[in-house]
């Protein structure tokens, strides 16, 4: 591991925390390190996409990997998303574990037939004889003043497709462990990276042991498992449910609410399919109030699914209907209007207020 860090020459020296090394990495560095280790540990893994090789990807997530692991393991493809994903199917059929990259979320649309009709269904169509161990990395969501089609939130679309699993990390630590986990599973996973969080640093507990246990041992609670949600902040009065870049914003909101004596719990969903319904029930069963926050448009967004799961599990104890604070039913706006579109601190606080002030009858 330290050898990998040296080779890629960006990771600061490990700080020992009990027996597990804790690094201070950005999400970009954490993802890069995860991919480096996946390539080293799993010889059938191949990484490819537009500009993934020599350039290291437009977000540098694959930086240095081609030089280290060779042009056969990490390669550039021509510029065609459908072919990148269609080729992943064939490679998986030949026994490889592809980790393709779609350069930006909006460019997943040209590949939708291969994702929905092929990747998601091949295991089923072939009666389990042709599994699709494909992890599709999609730099996702807004917040970086990007051109059109470079800031989409596609989680509801992907989560609706039978045969796909969907995950989105919110911290460098989760990014590292969730990617390593997803890339070694036998089913296709859409890995949505919150691009506005690529450059913020955080502690990453690096371990080859079971990551959940390593976290607990290191005194960091990730729920003990990589398959479920994570309580990012404990609270008593209300639960904010979020994923991706909205988790950090909800944590900010929780600090501000605390100044008014409101104790907010923040649940980082992490897995958007399957959704950890038990974690939602545990949290809202305690707080009795919930607000779901996402960047995607409101109508038929994943917030509706979350609200229904909470209602189903906590109907008796809920003090108010579940609120949704989301993007609007409009095409993703240009950078100048981005802050009006993405749920901001004020809008989330208003959502909290509506729930707290709700009175029956």
């Amino acid at each position: 591991m330290s050898e990998a860090a040296t080779a890629l020459s960006f990771a600061p020296g490990p700080v020992t925390m009990e027996t597990e090394p804790v690094l201070h990495l950005s999400m970009q560095q954490a993802l890069n390190r995860a991919l480096d280790e996946i390539l080293a540990d799993h010889p059938k893994t191949v990484i490819f996409g537009e500009d993934c090789g020599r350039l290291g990807g437009v977000f540098r997530i694959t930086d240095g990997l081609q030089a280290k692991h060779g042009e056969e393991r990490v390669f550039d493809t021509p510029l065609a998303e459908s072919a990148i994903l269609g080729m992943s199917v064939g490679l998986a059929m030949a026994g490889f574990h592809p980790i393709p990259e779609v350069q930006f979320d909006g460019f997943a649309y040209p590949a939708i037939n291969q994702i929905v009709c092929q990747i998601a269904r091949m295991n089923y169509r072939s009666r389990g004889t042709l599994p699709m161990p494909i992890t599709l990395r999609v730099p996702s969501f807004g917040g970086i003043r990007a051109p059109e089609h470079h800031g989409e939130s596609l989680e509801a679309l992907f989560a609706h497709v039978p045969g796909l699993k969907v995950v989105s990390p919110s911290t460098p630590h989760d990014a590292y462990h969730l990617l390593k986990y997803a890339a070694t599973r036998p089913d296709p996973v859409i890995f949505m990276e919150p691009k506005s969080r690529y450059w913020q640093k955080g502690p990453v507990v690096v371990s080859t042991a079971t990551p959940g246990q390593a976290m607990l041992d290191a005194g960091m609670d990730d729920g003990g498992s990589l398959t479920g949600a994570r309580v990012a902040r404990e609270g008593r009065h209300l639960t904010l449910v979020a994923w991706g870049a909205m988790v950090a914003r909800c944590l900010q909101v929780a600090e501000l609410a605390a100044e008014d004596g409101i104790d907010v719990e923040v649940v980082d969903l992490r897995w958007l399919k399957p959704i950890d319904a038990e974690a939602l029930a545990r949290s809202v069963g305690k707080t009795r109030r919930a607000v779901v926050v996402h960047e995607a448009p409101l109508t038929s967004g994943l917030g509706a699914e979350v609200a229904q799961l909470i209602t189903q599990h906590c109907f008796q104890t809920l003090k108010a209907p579940v609120e949704r604070v989301t993007g609007f039913d409009v095409p993703y706006p240009s950078g100048d209007l981005e802050d009006e579109y993405i749920p901001n601190i004020d809008r989330i606080l208003f959502g909290i207020q509506r729930v707290l002030e709700y009175r029956r009858g």
């Binding site: 021509p78 080729m87 064939g90 490889f96 169509r125 072939s126 042709l130 036998p186 959704i275």
Partner: protein, 350 residues
């Protein structure tokens, strides 16, 4: 009609087909013709809900499928490659089960058969062939042991953008892929001239720097030799080949189609040309490769085979409903498992 191959490595050392092989090719075509006609009848009798006949394409399908080495190659079919499946020795009850509506992809094992699950999205699997073939390049196996991917599609599918992407990727990566186009004149109701600009699909290959062969798709020997040469070219590490087999869809698109709405019987008679089976039969007779007794035996074998497949198909019951849930993932999600539990509880079938 066969154009001169512009292949870097042709299979010049390959011996011409023996008389035994020629007779085997005919027997396969006879089996395919019989099974294909029978499947249309089964649909009319209510044994299967639908079928996409390949009548008239026996030479293109058997001739190409016969060139596949099942120890290392892999074929990516659409939904009209019954003749290829038969030539490759597939379990035909397993193949036909897709038309019985037992399971979309068919009940045969694609890995053991070297024949991907039946694909209903036109051009959907062309890119899969490129990925699989690139996997051969990455496999580290020596040249001789690497497989070749052969992907089938038609003149209609050639309009799909995925075909362009696949040919370009394959050429850039020098992937060992044989793009096998059956140009059967019709994409349901739309004729080739209103489908394919530039006159042929094979002509497009030049734009990618891919060698192409346009072959008389109703001449089984010509098809076989072209395919064999293409495989040799791929195996030698020279990258992909395009083969366009010119043939004719003598039947409807499917058992739900009515060709009378878009072509007359007279047009069919004029365009279809000579029946590929009859043509091959006359050749074998005139060259003394087979006698009338052989053809009688081939006919009898085809009939016996058809009856066995029909018996197998009729015996196929519906799959257990639990498979709807259990085959979605390798590792099913808790949500899906609870849906399966609820279904089981509320269903009368289990």
């Amino acid at each position: 009609m066969t154009t001169k191959p512009v292949l870097a490595a042709v299979d010049e050392d390959a011996a011409p087909l023996t008389h035994e092989q020629l007779r085997e090719l005919y027997s396969l075509m006879a089996s395919v013709r019989r099974l294909d006609s029978a499947a249309v009848a089964w649909q009319r009798q209510g044994i299967i809900p639908g079928y996409a006949p390949q009548l008239g394409q026996e030479a293109a399908q058997v001739g190409s499928g016969y060139a596949v080495d099942r120890t290392r190659d892999f074929v990516f079919p659409t939904y009209r490659e019954m003749g290829v499946a038969r030539a490759m020795g597939l379990d035909m009850v397993g193949y036909m089960s897709t038309h019985k509506a037992t399971w979309h992809g068919g009940m045969y094992n694609p890995l053991e058969s070297r024949f991907a699950p039946i694909q209903a999205v036109v051009a959907g699997s062309v890119l899969h062939a490129v990925g699989w073939a690139h996997g051969q390049t990455l496999s580290g196996k020596p040249d001789g042991e690497r497989g070749v991917a052969m992907t089938y599609f038609g003149d209609g599918a050639s309009s799909q953008g995925d075909v362009h992407e696949a040919m370009n990727f394959a050429a850039v990566m020098k992937a060992p892929v044989v793009f096998f186009i059956q140009n059967n004149g019709w994409a349901i109701s739309v004729p080739t001239e209103r489908q394919v600009a530039g006159g042929s699909v094979a002509a497009r290959a030049a734009g990618y720097g891919i060698p192409s062969l346009q072959v008389d798709g109703n001449d089984v020997v010509a098809v076989h030799e072209a395919t064999r040469s293409a495989f040799a070219h791929c195996r030698a590490g020279n990258g992909p080949v395009v083969i366009e087999a010119m043939t004719y869809r003598r039947g409807p698109h499917s058992t739900a189609d009515d060709p009378g709405r878009y072509r007359t019987l007279e047009e069919e008679r004029l365009s279809a040309g000579e029946d590929p089976l009859e043509r091959f039969k006359q050749r074998l007779l005139s060259e003394g490769v087979a006698d009338t007794a052989f053809f009688a035996r081939a006919q009898q074998q085809a009939q016996d085979e058809e009856e066995a497949v029909r018996t197998g198909i009729e015996a196929l019951g519906p799959r257990p409903g639990a498979e709807m849930f259990s085959l979605v993932f390798q590792e099913p999600t808790p949500t899906l498992q609870s849906q399966a539990t609820a279904w089981r509880k509320e269903s009368e079938h289990v």
